[in-house]
């Protein structure tokens, strides 16, 4: 055991002295800071470009209100501290519907859009004011991703169309609005009692607490696993190809060597995770969410992180021992990476419906359990205890199996030079006595 710790300590020192570790340590806060900065910058960004819009109004009554609404929009357009507009001006112009056939008008206006004389054009059908009409407002543009203008047109025209329909039907729109106004649903937790038995009012359900915190913990775990376990593959290949492993297993058993590497790598991940947890806790406390990061959640996080590190660490070590270079390893990495990515593809439905059969099934799959069961635990009220116990047990047994299999592959693969082992060969090594 003593030698295992010597290997682990060397692995820990090597990894923490590497540039990759320092980059990993600072990368996440830098990314998060950059994201916040970009959001703030984006908020103040000006988009003062005029949007010229041609309107073919076949009703003959909607262009006027649309133009008035555009003037109102342009007058109310926000400006930043420098006085520059932060939203675009919408500049509609009427097109006589009788100046050509519908097709020729569309073709002519399309050419004007292509020549940048117009940004878009919209066609209002003649029967737009009739109730139950099935025709559509036709919006043409070569900027399909830009939503602001078509959304504004749709809202503005539909509001005016509905107003006019009410007027024709002699119904007071304001009365209808008052009568049909829905009640807002306020989502609350449960009423609780304090130590003295006095009732405490139910708290508002906070989206950040219910979704953002569990998601952040899962992302952090993913980051901690990804930051060190794939490096085990590289270091194993390096040791194998430069014959370092031959020197080492003249001093320690292959199992001691592998466990030392796993423990060293896991220690680095735990260090990273603890640094980020502490940072995350400080940030959460600053914004008033300190109580969202509980000791219980952190304990589960660390337990599941250790299990994930040992599962994926074993897999990457085994691949490294079975391959002769990184190119060989790339092919074998794909299934391992897919297993690792499974929680990333499924976390959202699990977080939205943590007690669904799908969430329960996924959180029992050993490679996904550390991520998804942690998320289920973090989303109130949490899963039943038996499910947590089953998930931890299945994952822990998988860790034992993965370490055992990796140990067998490591022992044989480490001395094999020249070609990568096939999956069938690796399976034979695992089964060999």
């Amino acid at each position: 055991m003593h030698k295992t710790f010597i290997v682990a300590s060397s692995e820990f020192n090597t990894l923490t002295r590497s540039k990759a570790f320092l980059i990993g340590l600072f990368l996440m806060p830098v990314f998060m800071g950059a994201a916040v900065a970009l959001q703030r910058t984006g908020r103040d960004q000006t988009d003062g470009k005029d949007r010229l819009l041609a309107v073919i109004d076949r009703t003959g009554v909607l262009y006027g209100p649309l133009k008035a609404a555009a003037d109102e929009w342009n007058a109310a357009g926000a400006s930043n501290a420098d006085g520059a507009r932060t939203s675009p001006r919408f500049l509609p112009s009427a097109v006589n519907p009788d100046s050509g056939t519908p097709e020729s008008l569309r073709a002519e206006l399309s050419d004007r859009v292509r020549r940048d004389e117009l940004y878009a054009f919209v066609e209002i059908p003649a029967n737009a004011l009739e109730p139950g009409v099935t025709e559509t407002l036709r919006y043409h543009s070569n900027h399909p991703a830009y939503r602001l203008l078509p959304d504004w047109i749709s809202t503005t025209l539909n509001r005016e169309i509905v107003n006019q329909r009410f007027r024709v039907a002699a119904i007071d729109r304001a009365t209808v609005a008052r009568l049909t106004r829905p009640l807002r649903l306020e989502q609350l937790g449960l009423v609780t009692r304090d130590e003295r038995g006095e009732l405490k009012a139910a708290e508002h359900v906070d989206e950040i607490k219910t979704l953002a915190v569990p998601a952040a913990m899962m992302v952090l775990m993913f980051f901690a696993v990804m930051s060190t376990t794939p490096q085990l593959l590289n270091s194993t290949i390096e040791e194998k190809m430069s014959r370092i492993s031959e020197v080492l297993i003249g001093s320690v058993t292959p199992f001691q060597l592998m466990m030392g590497k796993l423990m060293g790598s896991a220690a680095v991940s735990l260090l990273l995770a603890c640094v980020y947890l502490a940072g995350g806790f400080a940030v959460a406390t600053h914004w008033g969410y300190g109580d969202a990061v509980t000791w219980s959640a952190m304990t589960w996080f660390l337990l599941f992180l250790i299990l994930a590190l040992f599962i994926f660490g074993s897999v990457f070590i085994a691949i490294g021992a079975a391959c002769s270079d990184l190119k060989d390893a790339q092919n074998m990495m794909t299934p391992a990476m897919l297993l690792l990515m499974l929680p990333a593809f499924t976390w959202f439905p699990v977080a939205r419906s943590p007690d669904s059969p799908m969430a329960m099934t996924l959180s029992m799959i050993p490679t996904a359990a550390p991520f998804l069961m942690l998320m289920r635990i973090a989303v109130p009220p949490g899963p039943p205890f038996w499910q947590v116990a089953a998930s931890v047990s299945i994952t822990a047994l998988t860790v034992v199996g993965a370490v055992y299999a990796a140990g067998k592959i490591f022992r044989t693969g480490l001395l094999m030079q020249g070609k990568a082992a096939t999956l069938a060969e690796m399976w034979r090594w695992v089964r060999a006595h």
Binding site: N13, T14, S18, E238, S242, I244, E246, V247, G250, S251
Partner: protein, 299 residues
């Protein structure tokens, strides 16, 4: 003298290939023992079994008096042919790491590391990364890594390959110094001249079987005085067609001839053809013996 290594009827197979075939060998304590043999003959497999990296399929191996080769692990050191060093690790850190894996403490190791670094002229490189070292320096660091734990048995795989004469000389002195301190040294080499000069005993393996084992004199005695070394005015041209010649090794200025007949009669015939400046009846060199065995493909 007790045996540092004892192999009894050891066999190792890899699938259908028998890498080592019923090998029996005693390496005496305190000796310098040379392992020779062509590539793929079973040398490295034998060394790996002694190191407990591989286990034999049959037979028994005793290392430093223990039938459990793993138990002797901390008293055996290994220098691989290709440098087994972490490129991005500093020299001192690497030497400490390898020494600690052999059961030594840093307090024990540091004076030994300093001593060896001084002795091999690497003191200034102690805190530099391995990747900054030249090939010769790396080889010397690897050697220090293998002796810093003061092993009882030191196994060196091609320790002098690729070294310039100065570094080879330095390393040779270091190996002899290690032996003087009581360490048994086993080294494999393709350099027959080095094996002849340094080894107390020489063992040759060919196709997994032992074909030579003994002192240089004992080995040469098996082949008798069947070699003549000749320097003549006409060189190798004068030898063409002379009776009794089994093989000629032409070095340009000197020819080494393996002779089946009487050397005196051969000299008489050669002198009739050209002026003979040097004629020496000798035992075959280790190189010649190696080539005879490996070249003919049989022992």
């Amino acid at each position: 003298m007790t045996a540092a290594i004892r192999l009894s009827n050891v066999t190792k197979r890899f699938g259908p290939t028998t890498a080592v075939d019923h090998l029996t060998l005693d390496v005496p304590s305190g000796a310098i023992y040379g392992f020779i043999g062509p590539n793929g003959s079973g040398k490295t497999t034998t060394l790996r079994m002694i190191m407990h990296i591989l286990l034999p399929d049959e037979g028994e191996i005793e290392v430093l008096g223990s039938p459990d080769t793993a138990a002797a692990r901390d008293r055996v050191s290994y220098l691989p042919e290709e440098r087994g060093l972490y490129k991005r690790m500093a020299v001192r850190r690497l030497l400490r790491y390898y020494g600690r894996l052999k059961g030594r403490t840093i307090a024990e190791l540091d004076p030994l590391i300093d001593d060896w670094l001084n002795r091999l002229g690497l003191r200034e490189w102690a805190d530099r990364k391995v990747e900054t070292l030249s090939k010769g320096m790396s080889q010397k660091v690897q050697f220090i890594a293998s002796v810093v734990s003061q092993p009882s048995l030191l196994i060196l795989d091609e320790p002098f390959s690729g070294l310039d004469p100065v570094n080879a000389e330095t390393l040779k002195d270091a190996v002899l110094e290690t032996r003087r301190r009581g360490t048994t040294v086993v080294f494999s080499t393709h350099d027959m001249a080095t094996a002849e000069k340094m080894c107390d005993r020489i063992f040759m393996i060919f196709r997994g079987k032992k074909v030579l084992d003994g002192t240089l004199e004992e080995i040469q005695a098996q082949y008798g005085l069947d070699t003549v070394r000749i320097r003549s005015a006409a060189g190798s041209a004068a030898l063409a067609g002379l009776p009794g010649i089994e093989s000629i090794n032409d070095y340009g200025q000197l020819q080494e001839v393996r002779l089946a007949g009487d050397p005196q009669a051969f000299l008489h015939q050669l002198a009739a053809r050209t002026a003979v400046y040097h004629f020496e009846v000798a035992r075959p060199s280790l190189h010649d013996i190696f080539v005879r065995i490996a070249g003919n493909g049989n022992a």
